[in-house]
Symmetry: D2
Subunit: 377 residues, 4 copies
């Protein structure tokens, strides 16, 4: 099977997430990076591309130019990964979608709700696929958690606690030359949410994915602790779900001692589940009244969803990159299937999930401005 | 040194917390239980007392009778432990306080805010001491955490996350003969708060004790998940502290897989701390930008507060009962000092802390009734 | 029920284990310390005794004098706790046993195998009880582990891994004024085993207690890493049990980062168990082919042995002192039963267990001298 | 930079480790699989190759035929990965080495000591590189551990405890159709060591890599617990290192509850280290007398060795495949450097390490046959 020809928008030399997408696309050998608008100028793009082994004439300074030319090439890109700051997601995605080129886009979907809705429309109009890399949903134990909720192992859900603390913005590093911090604290590039957009949306999406619960309303208290920072760096939200379950979401970028502490706990009337991203090969499950059980990736007690998202036996830890690669791997399945016009059932985050995420950010910001009043979704 | 003569109100055969108080009072050998109104009838009280080696004529069916008689005995009780359901705390404490007998009272202080204020007045009018057993403050690592916050190891505090999940009320056991569940879910005996009164108040007190922060306002969303239950069994609260720190409190009695998951995390601009009651001999400390450190009870890195609350070397775990005994041990110090009219500085929870706790419960209930509106404290 | 009148041999001001025994004897309120030969002179003994509230005339400078006088008193001690350095265990125990006074003795039984055999003879000749405080066997989860092995949850046992690392002798603190270190590294007072006698014997006893396996032979490699130290400070042993199971034992006092890392793992053809003393409220159990289960003290899945050794509900940690108190509590049961001439079944370590422990030390020392040759037990 | 052309020997459809090598070779995009003798017949090899996108004429039924033809092709393989059962390592490696094709070979080096020595000779005679995939040395925290030992953070080493328990051979699955179990328990294909060869050698290599200590002698007690099994399934070894350090090694394939529990602990006179393969992003370090520190992959406290072996920020776990990919990535560095005749300093396991591993297996088997007598290395 020939690898799928992949392009990349963003992801030049300094970037973090671009490199992650490239590794993720390589792990299962189903994509080959052949073109890119990796940086904002043709020159930089060529430099970054050269380091990645791209042909010079496939390195573009502009995603529109790239979309136009690649669409005409016989062996042009079949799909692109968009890994730019948030405000570029929509305009870039639009150019490829309208030319029938599949889009794999980093989260959050866009920097504004308006753009998000436009992107939904663009995706719906297009024959091409749109996949959002809410990569934490690719972890095998997260897949198992979702499966267990759906098959009723927890009973009727009551309480959802989700959190994502980090500490890298404890000091004002955006004023100190950190490129990563700069755009993430800049409303022009990130949108109205800072921490809530960058990682709160991951936490929210994870809770949604695992529980299947629809958020009915939220009350959010966003804070900015670092002086001079333009966006929130700590997020407290109370959640009310359709059907009566309640929850809390905490995300923070100023919590020293936390690297990427994404953690989900779900409780129903029959049992409880707990998962933490930093130790992703474990899932704790307690059937009420019985001892807690430590489920492992591809180990004893693994469900089909766990096994099929695993590459190697239990006890040999898979990590973030393999979870991310599961998104790419399934995207490859869809892309191949789409060649025959058939898109199978799948678990990939869609443009609708992306819209939900942006709506969540928007609702948090609105609620917080109104002193944490309840906002319906 | 002769042991202090102790009486007990409540704590008859079926009770949980009475037994805890008795062990806690024995561990350091400074108290001797000599009298009690252990149950609601003289007969039951005598039966319970006999099992504890009490003289029959020191077993009372009524705390007022006990207070009156013991106050007149030459070797009458010097202090009493009140371990009844909440609504009895005030009337019982009053009888002893007004006769100059020290009171060691379980939490929450009372079942109503009105009673709490009366009890404060009674305590202030009395020469006797009043100690509230917010026992989690007795753990050595909690003492160290408080000391570290005060000496600035965390810098200026920003975020406080505290939680106390349990699972024992996942099913309607109060309808099934559980005495413990019965009174804790009964507003007549517990007050207007269920889970929030029983354990939310512990979580709140712990956060207060360690951080020293004063709560400015809160927004609470109380839920009752078990059908027919008369009080809340899950508690979500957003917290705003004086000085700008923010926090969240979650307590639940319907979270399967949680026994007594009291856990506190505190973050400042210089560092973070984390402590969990179920593994109480550890305290995690991260100075921002450095590796996380695992501090241990009476181990390397132990502060004076940690050492002085410890009995044995690090690595031999002390537990809940020793933490509780630290409250009794310090109460003994105070009682002995009070004989000479001097009450030294101490860390014991006071009647004021008790009032704060009841005010917290009251504010949560009021906020929740108003759809989680902010309520000032 | 009147408390049992207890005396103490050793345990003066500086001692560690004496204080532990006293707390353990108080926790369940069944003993009252009334006499002691706490130190090696009458004067020091009286000083230590005064601090403990002992009457002056019940404070002795000599255990023989104490045994003689207490045996004649109408309210003389019914039992004594012997908490001296090892070489005193035998002579002290002998004096009380021959006068029908029960003995609760710290481990190891004696400092020499010769003494151990004499003590066995003395105990067998006496009507009094002899209890050895291999206190780790008092932990509820250890009791459950033993019960699970006996009821076949692990199947036929194959592998036993036990270890007890500490780090407090990493430096030559015995040359620096540490009393604890001084006698423990002195062959005159400790016997021929240093680390192996002090903690290796605990590890061995724990493995014996839980597995029920009889040791067939061992090969030991003892080391002394700290220059000038007179006894071993690191112990490596390979174990062969009757019936074919094999194991390893490691104990060390020079392993930085270990406080009291006693840990046992047992594997059979149907399952595996793991327990660690520093987190004693947990027991890991894996039925082969199923997920690992986290059993807790008095929690879901607790066996009768676990429950009956627990005082409080799961999730409120009990610790080292409660485990130790379980030994005292059962000793009290036996003492009370012995009044009527009936000694019930029990789990307490006996003088035979003590002899086994000393034989284990002796075998390790002999094996090590012969370059770790196999020595039969 | 063009990817290095890679061939594979073994790794057909059913294999485990072949898939691991393929992913590891892809992660950093520096290799491209272009040929293979994946199975023992041309037909099967072509079927496996087709699934991997190999051209039909580059799929061979025989490694000798492959070596001959590829050596003549202009774009023939530059390197091969050998992932067959152990007994094939030597003959296969020989064919490629003698034709100047680099070899990346799975461990243990060979199934016999005789073969191992021949392979060393072949590698030394060849201009091509030989890399052994002792992949656990590729983990970033293992690299940091080694660096810390070398820079003296632990002081003079005293004690080394290493273990590698698994449970997958608890039952006689080799008699039940498990291909993986079949060859690993077959002396013809695995050599004289079962568990000791399969995973004991990993444990030994890890200890060697991190500590730098040379083994002086060992005493090994190998067991076979499963009836009918032809090789050992449990391994107990006492270790004596040059310079006086001592250690223990335990590996087992019959320890229920263990997936891949490789774990190393190293203690010196200044500090201790602990690392566990199943949680590979953590390294515990205790400077003696200070609190334990939790070092993380690419987190605070990461050394250069840790950072350079990491792809993504701390808190996003990397796993087994990334550790394995580090071996491939460095092999790529060497292969590229070798084009110019320069081989830089590196940390990759060499043919000499492979010989040491086989000598270790051989010594264990010999010692065990002589009732665990000490055998010098």
């Amino acid at each position: 099977m020939k690898p799928i020809r992949l392009g990349m928008i963003g992801g030049g030399n300094d970037a973090f997430i671009g490199g992650v997408h490239r590794i993720a696309s390589r792990i299962d050998g189903r994509f080959q990076l052949v073109a890119g608008a990796l940086s904002s100028t043709a020159e930089k793009s060529k430099a970054s591309g050269a380091a990645l082994g791209l042909a010079e004439d496939r390195c573009y300074g502009d995603f529109t130019e790239m979309a136009k030319r690649e669409a005409r090439l016989k062996d042009g890109v079949e799909a692109v990964a968009i890994v730019t700051p948030n405000h570029v997601h929509y305009p870039a995605a639009r150019e490829f979608l309208k030319r029938g080129i599949h889009v794999i886009c980093d989260k959050p979907l866009t920097s504004t709700l308006v753009d998000a809705k436009k992107l939904v429309a663009a995706a719906e109009k297009s024959d091409a696929l749109f996949v959002l890399t809410h990569n934490y949903t690719g972890y095998p134990m997260v897949r198992q958690a979702r499966e267990m909720v759906r098959q009723g192992d927890l009973g009727r859900l009551r309480v959802v606690q989700v959190e994502y603390p980090q500490d890298w913005l404890t000091d004002p590093v955006e004023a100190d030359g950190s490129k990563q911090a700069e755009w993430r604290t800049d409303p022009e590039r990130s949108g109205a949410g800072g921490c809530v957009g960058d990682i709160g949306t991951h936490a929210y999406n994870l809770a949604r994915f695992v529980t299947g619960l629809q958020l009915e309303s939220l009350a959010a208290d966003l804070s900015t602790f670092v002086e001079g920072r333009r966006l929130d760096d700590n997020v407290h939200v109370m959640l009310r779900f359709d059907g009566g379950a309640r929850g809390m979401l905490w995300s923070s970028q100023v919590a020293p001692g936390n690297e990427n502490g994404l953690r989900l706990r779900v409780y129903g009337d029959k049992g409880g589940l707990e998962w933490a991203q930093e130790d992703p090969n474990y899932l704790w499950f307690t059937p009420f009244g019985e001892p807690k059980r430590l489920l492992t990736r591809n180990g004893a007690g693994a469900t089909a969803a766990n096994q099929s998202a695993s590459r190697i036996p239990g006890g040999h830890p898979e990590g973030y990159l393999e979870g991310f690669a599961n998104i790419y791997n399934e995207a490859a399945d869809l892309i191949v299937a789409a060649r025959d016009g058939k898109v199978p059932d799948h678990l990939l985050p869609t443009v609708q999930d992306g819209l939900e995420g942006v709506a969540f950010i928007d609702a948090c910001v609105r609620s917080s401005k109104r002193d944490a009043a309840w906002v319906r979704l």
